[in-house]
């Protein structure tokens, strides 16, 4: 599985959504991405890529697209 698939899977599985919804997905844009969903999704990403996100990056992680940029800091290219 390549990185974009691993990345997408964390959202699809955590929020039970279709792949077509990912592009414009933002924090609180769907009911599932609430504060608790946010932590579940972050944990899924950490498990998938075997990384630990810093607090500031977890706070900045406000959309599907923004997350791609944040993960670059952890040497995860998407």
């Amino acid at each position: 599985m390549n990185n974009i698939d691993k990345y997408s899977k964390a959202f699809i599985k955590t929020f039970s959504i279709d792949k077509t919804k990912l592009k414009n997905l933002k924090y609180q844009s769907i009911p599932q991405w609430d504060s608790v969903g946010h932590m579940s999704m972050i944990s899924a990403l950490e498990d998938n890529f075997k990384i630990t996100l810093e607090m500031d990056d977890i706070i900045d992680f406000s959309s599907f697209e923004k997350g791609k940029k944040i993960l670059k800091k952890y040497k995860v290219k998407i």
Partner: protein
Amino acid sequence: MKKRSLNSLELLDYQPNRYPFLMIDYVTSVIPGKEANGYKNFTNNEWFFPIHFPGHPNVPGALQLEALAQMLTVAITTLPGNKGKATHALSHTVRFRREILPGEKLSIETKVISWKRGICKGIGKGFVSEELACEAEMTITIPEILDQYIPKKK
């Protein structure tokens, strides 16, 4: 972390619920961040027995679940920095196995499965005379900690 016990007064520092909603009497052992065990005695004097139900008193399932959740809470609030912090339930899945009647003692065992960024996932089991009475998978939070990690509205 070191195992310890909390008597009925000491546990009030780690569990914000009070009579008539405090559903644990004694914490016989707690390892902060790992597990908490103890019990609740249901005497004939409990406030809910006359109404649940007249002629057939038994402990409401919601309160059995509350007892499990309150014990799990202690496993988290005894961690350094968490004393006195408010906790909320996020989701619970519970299964009831037998009635609990006046005069019976509910022994409670809870374990923390994960504790990360203000969210605790754990399991709890309640026993009466070593017979399983109820069990639950629980997710609780300390909002004050969780809120530190969520994206801020611009």
